[in-house]
C-alpha cells in the first residue's frame, strides 16, 4: 500500500510519523449483517390541481443502485375533514391519485399506507405551508467558481407574508434541437434483390425537435438566516456555454415549492449525510427518522417524508445569441463528421451495407454520392449511390420530440 510505504520511509529516516496524513485504508462495510430492509416513503402533495404521486421503495444493500418498488400497497391520503383520496399503483412502487386534487389551506393531510404484508404506516398530519409567488426567473451569463463560462439560472422571490422560509426548487428544461445533417429526403429500399434504393420526402418533421430534461433533485434554500424573507439571485441551474442545450433556443420552467421546516430539514440532512465527508463539516451520522410512524411509533422499519407544499412556477426563454457571439455556437451533442458512402451491391455473404443501414435505421440519407467513378460523372455512383450520416445527425427525433410543446414561443 502506498500510504504505508510512505510511512515506513519516513519512520526509518527519522522515526517520525505524521498522522494528519496518516494511514487511511478502505475496509469492507459489513453489508450482510448491516443491511436493513426499510420502507422509504416519499410523497409531496401540491396545491395545484393534478394527479398527486406517492412513491414507496425499499432500501437496497450498499453497493447496489437498483430501485426496489414496494408493490401492492394500499395508499390513501386522509383529510382532517374526513375526506380521503385513494391512490393506485401505476408502476412498481409508484402510486398516483385516482382523481386529481389540490391541497388546500385549512386542511390536514395524513398519508396512510397498508403494505402487502399487512403493516400500517401513517404520517404525521401535514398542512399546506403559506404560498409565496415566484417573482422572477432570470438567466444571466457568468463565469462560475470553476472558471467555466455559461448561463446561470437564478430566481428571485419576495414573500409578502413573511411566513414562507423554506424553499425547494426543481426545474424542467426544454431546448430546441436542429439536426445538423438533415435532408428533406430520406432513403428507402426499392428492391432487396437486386439491391435497389431511392429517396423520397420525409413523412415527418425530423429537422427541428424539442428535448426535455428534468432536474434530478431539488435544490434547497432557506431565508431564515437572512434579515428579510427574500430569495435573491438564488442559482437553481447552470449551463456551460458549450452545452448543446442552449445552442439554439432554450426554455426553463422553475418550480418553487414552499416546504415546512421539518420537511426541509429532513431533505437537507439526508443530502448532507449522503454527501462527501469534509474535514470542516462535522455531521453526526445516524438513522434519520422521517415523519412516518408505525402505529404511532417511530421504528427503524420505515423512514421518509410525506409533505404538503405550495407550489408556484415561472418559465423563461432565451437564445444563444442573447448572451454569446454566434460564432461560439456549441457543437452538436455528438460529432457529425464526413458522410459515409456504404456500398450497395451485396458482398459474397449476401449483405448490402447500404440496405442494412436503411433497414435498421442506423444511417440517414444526406445527399447523392455524385462525382463517383461511374459514367457521366454527375450521376450517383451506382455502387454507392448515397452519402449517409449517422441517424442522430440527420434525424432530430433521436434526441427529442418533433412536436412543438404548447408553451413554446419562438
Amino acid at each position: 500500500m502506498k500510504n504505508q510505504k510512505r510511512q515506513v520511509v519516513s519512520i526509518l529516516a527519522w522515526s517520525l510519523l505524521f498522522f494528519a496524513w496518516g494511514c487511511v485504508d478502505p475496509f469492507p462495510i459489513p453489508t450482510d449483517e448491516g443491511f436493513n430492509n426499510v420502507l422509504i416513503v416519499e410523497g409531496t402533495l401540491t396545491n395545484i390541481e393534478s394527479t398527486q404521486e406517492i412513491s414507496l421503495t425499499r432500501t437496497a444493500p450498499l453497493g447496489t443502485a437498483e430501485v426496489v418498488g414496494e408493490q401492492n400497497a394500499s395508499v390513501t391520503v386522509r383529510l382532517g375533514n374526513g375526506n380521503s383520496f385513494a391512490f393506485q399503483e401505476v408502476a412498481p412502487g409508484r402510486y398516483q391519485s385516482v382523481e386529481t386534487f389540490a391541497a388546500t389551506e385549512g386542511n390536514t393531510y395524513t398519508l396512510e399506507v397498508i403494505s402487502a404484508d399487512g403493516n400500517t404506516y401513517t404520517s404525521t398530519a401535514q398542512t399546506l405551508p403559506p404560498t409565496a409567488p415566484l417573482d422572477e426567473v432570470v438567466a444571466r451569463r457568468i463565469v462560475n467558481d470553476d472558471d467555466i463560462e455559461g448561463v446561470e439560472i437564478i430566481v428571485n422571490t419576495t414573500d409578502p407574508s413573511g411566513q414562507a422560509n423554506f424553499f425547494r426548487y426543481t426545474f424542467e428544461e426544454t431546448y430546441k434541437i436542429i439536426a445538423p445533417q438533415w435532408n428533406q429526403f430520406e432513403a428507402f429500399i426499392v428492391s432487396e434483390d437486386p439491391p435497389q434504393v431511392d429517396i423520397r420526402l420525409r413523412s415527418q418533421e425530423e429537422l427541428i425537435c424539442f428535448g426535455t430534461n428534468s432536474s434530478q433533485s431539488g435544490t434547497f434554500f432557506e431565508t431564515t438566516e437572512l434579515s428579510s424573507n427574500e430569495v435573491q439571485e438564488f442559482p437553481v441551474h447552470f449551463l456551460e456555454k458549450d452545452n448543446f442545450f442552449i445552442a439554439h433556443r432554450y426554455s426553463i420552467l422553475v418550480k418553487q415549492e414552499v416546504q415546512s421546516e421539518e420537511a426541509f430539514t429532513f431533505y437537507r440532512k439526508l443530502r448532507e449525510l449522503s454527501g462527501q465527508e469534509n474535514v470542516f463539516t462535522q455531521q453526526q451520522p445516524g438513522f434519520l427518522t422521517g415523519n412516518i410512524l408505525v402505529n404511532g411509533n417511530s421504528t427503524p422499519e420505515v423512514t421518509g417524508y410525506f409533505e404538503v407544499v405550495s407550489q408556484s412556477e415561472r418559465r423563461i426563454f432565451f437564445n444563444f445569441e442573447d448572451f454569446f457571439e454566434p460564432e461560439g455556437l456549441p457543437a452538436f451533442a455528438v460529432g457529425c463528421g464526413e458522410p459515409q458512402t456504404p456500398s450497395l451491391p451485396v458482398d459474397r455473404f449476401g449483405n448490402s451495407e447500404l440496405l442494412n443501414a436503411i433497414r435498421n435505421e442506423s444511417l440517414e440519407f444526406f445527399n447523392d454520392n455524385i462525382g463517383g467513378t461511374g459514367p457521366g460523372g454527375a450521376n450517383p455512383d451506382p455502387n454507392a449511390p448515397f452519402k449517409m450520416v449517422p441517424r442522430i445527425c440527420g434525424d432530430c427525433t433521436v434526441l427529442g420530440s418533433n412536436v412543438t410543446p404548447d408553451f413554446w414561443i419562438e
Binding site: 485504508d25 421503495t57 443502485a65 434530478q216 429532513f266 462527501q276 470542516f280 453526526q284
Partner: protein, 922 residues
C-alpha cells in the same frame, strides 16, 4: 565520664566506651579472595572476632592491599560497597549488622539547651528549642541514620507511653505534607493531617519510625523516646529511584484515604514506561488505570467512568488547560520534567473542585530548586525538552524555566516528498514558575504557561491552536492549625484554521475561550478529629463561539461572527474530614454552585410542545451588556466514608454529585481539534451527574501487592448530544441542533499492583458500560427510538498491563499492553432513492463497533552509573511502540463516490514505532 550514650543493638542497651586508644593495625595482601576469606585473615592477624551471618556477605572476589592500616580503616574500606555496618564491642568482638548503624555518639549540638537533670516532672522541649530536624534523607545515607532522642532521659519515668508531635514537610518545597503514614516496626501508625501535623503515641524506649508518603522517599529513623516531644520530619522527593519502582512502594494512601476513585501518577516513577516517539506522556499513563479510556492514538480526550470527554477538569497547578495535548493528542502538552504528580479524582471529587462532572486531573508542577542551578534535558526523535531551575534567593526563591519543542518542521523540509511540500507541523510549550518562600508563614508562587501547535491538515490549510495560562497563588499560614491559599488564574484557549483552497474560498475560522478565576481556600484543623477545607471561588468566562473571515482580496467568503457569550460560575464549598477512630473516617463535602449567563447577546425563546426550530422560535430578545439573563444554582454533595477492617484492608463508599455549566460541541467520538465550547443559557441547561462508588482495598505481604476493586454507578442528566445530521460549526442557534438527555453508566474496576522487588507494575481491568438516551415526542428529536443506546466511548472490556523488570540496578525492561473493546460507531447499512438521488441509510446510533483495540509496547531503560558526585546523571530510554504492528482504527468514515458508498478507516500508528531518547539531569 558523665555522659551516657545509648545504643541500640539487637535489643541490648549497653553503655561503654568504644574503640580505645590502642587500635590494632593490619598488614594484608590478598588477591581475588571473598570477603569471608578476608575477614578470616583479619581475625587471625588482629585477634578480633567477627559476628555475622554468612549469607550477608557478597560473594565477589576482592583484591586488597593494606600496609599498617588501622583496623577501622580496613573495615570501612571492606564494607564500603556493601550494606554492612560494623560495631566493635569490647576489645576483640566486632558485630556486623546489615543496613543499621550502631552508634556510639549523637550528633554535635543535639542537645540545644543545658539539660536540667534535677527535674522531677517529665520534661518537654518547648517549641523554641526542640525541633529536631532530620535532614538530608538521601537514599545513600539512609542506612547510617543516627538515632534521635525524644524527651529527656530521666530515671524512674512515670509513664510508659509518650506523645510525639510534629510536622512533616517536603524538603524541596518546604510545604507540609498531608497523608503521610507514620509507623513503627511494632505496628503503631499515625497519619498527618491536611496541615502536615501529626500526633503519635509511642512507647518508652527505642522505636524505629517510618514515614511514608506518595512521591517522597521513605524515611526510616531510629528514635529513642524518653518523654513527650516534638519532631519535624523532612521528607525528600524520590529523586533517585534506583529501583525504578513504578508505583510508590508502601504507599498506603489507597487504603487510608477516604476518597474512592483516586489515582496518583508520579512523574518520576513513570519514566520507565514505554513511550511513543520518545515522549514521556503522563496523561497517557493515566489511561492505563481502570476507568479511564481514550479513543486511541490521536485523541486528546479522556472518558472517565462513562463520562464524556468534556467532563474532565484538567488543572495545571490551578489553571484549567483546555487542550492538554499536542498534535491531536499524540503528545501531551506538559513538559514531563516539570510535572511532579498528577492526581486523578474519578469518584468522589473534593468539594473544592467543580464545574466538571466526571473527573479532576490535578497536575502539580515541581517547585523550583532554590539551592543550586539544576536542570534536566532530553533529546528524542521528534522533540527536545529542557528544564532549568535557577535559585533567585538562596533557599527561599527559585525560578523554573522549561521549554519543549519539536524539530518536525525542519525534518519535513528535509524530506524529499512531494506530498509534504508546503506542509507545516510544529509545536512547542514553555513554562515559567517562580516560587518564593518569604518566611515560615508566607509563600507566593507565580506561573505562566504557553503552548502552541500548528500543522497542515491538508496541503492548503493551516490549523493552529494555543493555550495560555497564568496563575498567581499566595499561601499564608495563620497558625499550625489554619492556613489559607488565595489564587488568581487565567486560561485562554484559541484555535484557528487558515484555508487557502482557491482564492475565492480562502477563509480564516477561529474560536476562543477565556476564563479567569479567583479562589480563596482555608484549611483548618481544629483538632485531631476534624480537618476542614472551605472557601469560595468565582470564575468569569468569555467565549467567542466562532467567526469566519474571507482571506485575501479575492475571497468571496462572507464574514460571520457568532455572538460572544459570557458567564459567571461561582461556588462556595466546605468539606470536613472526620476521623471517628483509627478505623472509621468520614468525609463530608458540600459545594453550592451558581451560574449566571451574562449579556450582551440574544436570548431565543421557543414555543413549548414543539421541536426547537425556526418555526417554533417565538421571539429573540436582545440582552444588554452585563445583564444576568439566566441563573442556575445547584447544591453538590461529596460524601465519602472509609472503614478499615484491619491495617491492610479497608472498604470505602462514596456519593458525589456535580454540575457542569459548559459543554463541548463535538459530535465526533474523539476530541477533535475544532471542538468548540458552549456556555449554558436559557435553552441549554447545565449537565448534572451523580456517582455512587464503593470499593475494597487490600494490601498483601506488607504492601508488596495491592489489590483494589471498585464499582460505580453513575447517572447523568441533561447530557448534551446532537440530532442526527446536526450542523455545529458557526451555528447561531445551536440549541436547534442539540438534544439533552439522560446518561447512565456502571462498571467494576480491578487494579492489582506490585509495588516492590525486581518486577513492579500493575494490571488493571475494567468492565463498564455507558449509555445515553435521547427521547422526545417529536420524531426529529428522537435518537434510536428514544431508547438507551451505547455512548461513543462505551467499551465494555478494558485491560491494561504496565510492568517493569529491573534486570540490574541500572538496566530495566518495561512493557505496556492495552486491550479495549472496539468503540461503537454508526454504519451505513443500505441505500435508497429519495428526492431523485441515491441516499445512504445509516444504522441507529452506535449500533456497530469498530474492531477491538490492542497494543503492546516495550522499552529498555538504561541509567548512567550512580556515582554520587557525578556532574550529571543520564538516562537512556529505548522503546518500541505498537510492537505487534496492530492496525488499530482511529476513526472510520464513509465517502459517497460515484453513487457508491466507500468505508475507510484511518489509523495512526499501524507499524511498530521505535524511538530512542536521551535524558540528562544536572
Amino acid at each position: 565520664m558523665t555522659k551516657n550514650y545509648f545504643i541500640l543493638i539487637t535489643l541490648i542497651c549497653i553503655t561503654t566506651n568504644l574503640f580505645g586508644q590502642q587500635e590494632a593495625t593490619v598488614n594484608l595482601q590478598v588477591e581475588k579472595n571473598t570477603l569471608a576469606d578476608i575477614l578470616a585473615k583479619v581475625e587471625q592477624q588482629s585477634g578480633v572476632r567477627f559476628y555475622y551471618l554468612n549469607n550477608w556477605l557478597p560473594k565477589d572476589s576482592l583484591t586488597k592491599n593494606y600496609q599498617n592500616t588501622k583496623l577501622t580503616e580496613v573495615l570501612t574500606d571492606l564494607f564500603k560497597e556493601t550494606d554492612l555496618q560494623y560495631f566493635k564491642y569490647a576489645d576483640n568482638r566486632i558485630y556486623l549488622t546489615r543496613g543499621r548503624l550502631i552508634h556510639d555518639y549523637l550528633p554535635d549540638g543535639f542537645f540545644p539547651a543545658p539539660v536540667d537533670t534535677t527535674a522531677t516532672e517529665p520534661e518537654y522541649y518547648s517549641d523554641e528549642n526542640i525541633s529536631v530536624v532530620i535532614n538530608e534523607q538521601r537514599s545513600d545515607i539512609r542506612r547510617r541514620k543516627r538515632s534521635i532522642q525524644i524527651g529527656k532521659q530521666r530515671s524512674g519515668a512515670s509513664a510508659s507511653e509518650f506523645t510525639l508531635n510534629g510536622k512533616v514537610v517536603n524538603a524541596q518545597s518546604g510545604r507540609p505534607v498531608s497523608g503521610v503514614l507514620l509507623s513503627t516496626g511494632s505496628g503503631l501508625t499515625a497519619l498527618t493531617d491536611a496541615a502536615g501535623n501529626y500526633t503519635f503515641t509511642l512507647p518508652y524506649g527505642e522505636n524505629t519510625l517510618f514515614a511514608d508518603a506518595l512521591g517522597l522517599e521513605r524515611l526510616e529513623q531510629p528514635i529513642i523516646v524518653y518523654g513527650d516531644g516534638n519532631l519535624e520530619i523532612v521528607l525528600s522527593e524520590s529523586v533517585e529511584q534506583l529501583d525504578e519502582v513504578v508505583v510508590e512502594a508502601d504507599s498506603r494512601s489507597i487504603i487510608e484515604a477516604t476518597t474512592t476513585g483516586k489515582n496518583t501518577i508520579d512523574a518520576e516513577e513513570s519514566k520507565t514506561i514505554p513511550v511513543v516517539l520518545g515522549e514521556r506522556d503522563l496523561l497517557k499513563i493515566a489511561t492505563t488505570l481502570p476507568g479511564i479510556t481514550t479513543s486511541g492514538e490521536g485523541s486528546a480526550g479522556f472518558n472517565v467512568r462513562g463520562g464524556k470527554t468534556d467532563q474532565n477538569l484538567v488543572l495545571l497547578d490551578n489553571s484549567v488547560i483546555y487542550n492538554p495535548s499536542h498534535f491531536f493528542g499524540i503528545f501531551q502538552a506538559l513538559n514531563p520534567f516539570t510535572v511532579e504528580t498528577i492526581d486523578i479524582y474519578k469518584g468522589n471529587i473534593p468539594a473544592e473542585y467543580g464545574g466538571r462532572l466526571s473527573s479532576v486531573f490535578k497536575i502539580t508542577t515541581k517547585v523550583p530548586d532554590s539551592e543550586k542551578i539544576s536542570g534536566e534535558a532530553s533529546i528524542g526523535p521528534v522533540t527536545g525538552n529542557v528544564k532549568l531551575d535557577i535559585p533567585i534567593v538562596k533557599e527561599k526563591a527559585g525560578l523554573t524555566l522549561a521549554g519543549r519543542g519539536t524539530y518536525s518542521d525542519w525534518i519535513l523540509g528535509t524530506l524529499d516528498n512531494e506530498d509534504l511540500q508546503g506542509r507545516s507541523a510544529y509545536f512547542f510549550d514553555v513554562l515559567a514558575k517562580y516560587h518564593h518562600k518569604i518566611n515560615e508563614n508566607n509563600t507566593i508562587q507565580a506561573q505562566g504557561y504557553y503552548s502552541q501547535d500548528a500543522f497542515s491538515i491538508t496541503q492548503d490549510s493551516l490549523y493552529s491552536y494555543d493555550n495560555t495560562l497564568a496563575s498567581l497563588q499566595w499561601d499564608h499560614k495563620f497558625s499550625e492549625k489554619s492556613q489559607a491559599a488565595v489564587s488568581l488564574t487565567h486560561s485562554d484557549y484559541f484555535f484557528e484554521i487558515d484555508f487557502e483552497g482557491r482564492p475565492q474560498t480562502a477563509f480564516n475560522y477561529n474560536f476562543n475561550i477565556r476564563e479567569t478565576e479567583f479562589k480563596f481556600k482555608m484549611d483548618y484543623v481544629p483538632n485531631t478529629t476534624h480537618s476542614l477545607t472551605y472557601g469560595v471561588s468565582s470564575k468569569l468566562y468569555g467565549l467567542e463561539p466562532g467567526s469566519i473571515r474571507g482571506l485575501g482580496g479575492e475571497s468571496q467568503v462572507q464574514s460571520r461572527d457568532v455572538d460572544e457569550e459570557q458567564g459567571l460560575e461561582s461556588a462556595v464549598f466546605i468539606a470536613d474530614n472526620i476521623t471517628f477512630s483509627e478505623k472509621f473516617q468520614l468525609e463530608l463535602g458540600l459545594r453550592y454552585s451558581i451560574f449566571n449567563a451574562i449579556g450582551p447577546g440574544e436570548q431565543r425563546i421557543y414555543a413549548d410542545n414543539a421541536p426547537r426550530n425556526e418555526t417554533s422560535l417565538q421571539e429573540t430578545q436582545e440582552i444588554e451588556s452585563g445583564e444576568f439573563f439566566e441563573t442556575y444554582a445547584f447544591p453538590e454533595f461529596r460524601v465519602g466514608a472509609r472503614y478499615s477492617l484491619n491495617r491492610d484492608l479497608s472498604i470505602k463508599a462514596s456519593y458525589s454529585s456535580a454540575t457542569q455549566y459548559i459543554h463541548s460541541l463535538s459530535n465526533n467520538t474523539t476530541v477533535s481539534p475544532i471542538d468548540t465550547w458552549k456556555l449554558s443559557d436559557n435553552n441549554i441547561e447545565p449537565q448534572r451527574a451523580s456517582i455512587f462508588s464503593a470499593g475494597v482495598y487490600k494490601f498483601f505481604d506488607d504492601g508488596l501487592y495491592e489489590v483494589s476493586v471498585e464499582g460505580f454507578y453513575k447517572i447523568q442528566d441533561n447530557i448534551l448530544d446532537f440530532k442526527v445530521g446536526a450542523d455545529i460549526i458557526l451555528n447561531e442557534a445551536i440549541e436547534q441542533e442539540t438534544l439533552q438527555g439522560e446518561g447512565k453508566s456502571y462498571g467494576g474496576e480491578l487494579l492489582i499492583r506490585k509495588n516492590r522487588g525486581k518486577l513492579t507494575g500493575w494490571l488493571g481491568y475494567t468492565y463498564s458500560r455507558a449509555f445515553f438516551k435521547l427521547d422526545s415526542e417529536f420524531p426529529e428529536e428522537l435518537v434510536s427510538n428514544g431508547e438507551f443506546f451505547p455512548a461513543n466511548f462505551d467499551k465494555p472490556h478494558d485491560v491494561s498491563l504496565v510492568a517493569n523488570y529491573a534486570i540490574t540496578k541500572r538496566l530495566s525492561f518495561s512493557t505496556n499492553f492495552t486491550y479495549q473493546t472496539g468503540r461503537p460507531v454508526t454504519f451505513p447499512t443500505g441505500t435508497f432513492f429519495f428526492n431523485g438521488e441515491q441516499q445512504v441509510l445509516y444504522s441507529q446510533r452506535n449500533s456497530f463497533r469498530i474492531p477491538d483495540y490492542y497494543r503492546l509496547d516495550i522499552g529498555l531503560n538504561l541509567e548512567g552509573n550512580h556515582k554520587k558526585n557525578k556532574l550529571a546523571h543520564s538516562f537512556w530510554s529505548l522503546s518500541i511502540y505498537n510492537v505487534l504492528g496492530r492496525n488499530n482504527p482511529y476513526s472510520v468514515f464513509f465517502v459517497t463516490e460515484n453513487a457508491e458508498v466507500k468505508a475507510f478507516q484511518s489509523s495512526i500508528f499501524n507499524i511498530p514505532i521505535p524511538s530512542i531518547t536521551y535524558n540528562i539531569r544536572f
